[in-house]
């Protein structure tokens, strides 16, 4: 697989059915958005996996870092009051 700058990495998101969200399914190399979409179609939707595809340059995705786990996620651990468990949820309401 080419790793040259002419073929940068793209992340692929596929919506499997109408009404659902796009989900990350993988990545691929392509030189521009059109080629990325065609390659995504051929690589990730050949078994009827989707009805819509997004491709995003991997470099445009900014991710939280593993070593920031402490300040990012740990503080939420003891904030049970943030969950809506103190309310009576009507039976008709599907969560």
């Amino acid at each position: 697989m080419s790793k040259s700058p002419a073929m940068p990495l793209w992340e692929v998101f596929v919506r499997s059915r109408r009404g659902l969200d796009h989900k990350h399914v993988g990545s691929l190399h392509a030189s521009d958005p059109e080629q990325a979409l065609l390659a995504a179609r051929d690589t990730y939707t050949r078994r009827q996996e989707g009805v819509s595809i997004w491709v995003v340059r991997s470099r445009d995705i900014h991710a939280s870092q593993q070593d920031e786990h402490g300040e990012f996620f740990d503080p939420a651990e003891d904030k049970v009051y943030r969950h809506p468990t103190f309310y009576d949820v009507p039976d008709e309401l599907k969560l």
Binding site: S31, L38, R46
Partner: protein, 250 residues
């Protein structure tokens, strides 16, 4: 009438099978992984199309020949594919330019055949036209990309176009079978198809920055069973298993 119709459908099937076989040769050899998967997809689309058309041709013929018999147990002179389908793959530019020229043809011919009086053929064509539309978008994208790319890619795709151009008049060279099928409302109007094909292809060639080639030679005869020297070797590889082990399955 029925014999002509059988031949008409067989030729469509042969085009799909033979170019599908050529495309499948790229499997594991394409320039990068994404292309390898895409190329194999396109190859399988063609082989799937061939299967449907062979089955239909076998039904029309009514002699009990199924898709495998028609694909693997006929000889070179019985195949009616365009010569362009059987040409060796060459470089990637050659394969993609051939594909583009054929994809646009297939998009047009299956669009026309989706209104065929032959209901089964019309149903197959309605499915195939969607595939062909995607194939043309894909190969057309590559033609633009290579034509408008580096000096080297431009040189290769222009060479491919020049070398292939003489095989394209065969797409629209109607013989008695084509004329009979068009009159019966089964087949496509090749003259009208040719006009549209030239418009589409020549516009795209210009957009890719390529020079339209001179038609100073052309070759035909594939549809009448007169093939190039490449056909025998292609069939030998494709048919060897069924020839050596008739009826074998796995």
């Amino acid at each position: 009438m029925s014999e002509e119709q059988t031949t008409y459908v067989l030729r469509l099937a042969d085009n799909a099978l033979i170019v599908g076989q050529r495309l499948a040769e790229w499997c594991g050899h394409s320039p990068f992984l994404e292309e390898d998967i895409a190329m194999a997809n396109v190859a399988l689309d063609h082989i799937g199309r061939a299967r449907m058309l062979y089955t239909h041709a076998g039904d029309l013929e009514g002699k009990g020949r199924d898709e495998d018999t028609l694909a693997f147990l006929r000889d070179e002179r019985e195949f009616g594919n365009f010569l362009i389908c059987e040409l060796p793959n060459g470089d990637y530019a050659f394969t993609l330019m051939r594909q583009y020229l054929l994809d646009v043809y297939h998009e047009l011919v299956f669009d026309a055949l989706s209104r065929s009086q032959d209901a089964q053929l019309a149903a197959i064509a309605s499915k195939a036209v969607k595939e062909a539309r995607y194939h043309a978008r894909r190969s057309g994208d590559w033609v633009l990309r290579l034509g408008d790319g580096t000096d080297e890619s431009h040189r290769r795709i222009q060479t491919a176009l020049n070398d292939l151009w003489g095989y394209t008049p065969e797409f629209f060279a109607a013989d008695d079978i084509d004329r009979a099928m068009q009159t019966a409302g089964v087949g496509a109007d090749l003259e009208a198809l040719g006009t549209k094909w030239h418009e589409t292809v020549e516009r795209h060639i210009a957009a890719a920055g390529l020079q339209p080639p001179e038609l100073d030679w052309h070759a035909e005869g594939g549809r009448q069973g007169m093939h190039t020297e490449n056909m025998g070797r292609l069939l030998a590889e494709m048919q060897v298993l069924q020839r050596n082990y008739p009826g074998m399955q796995w």
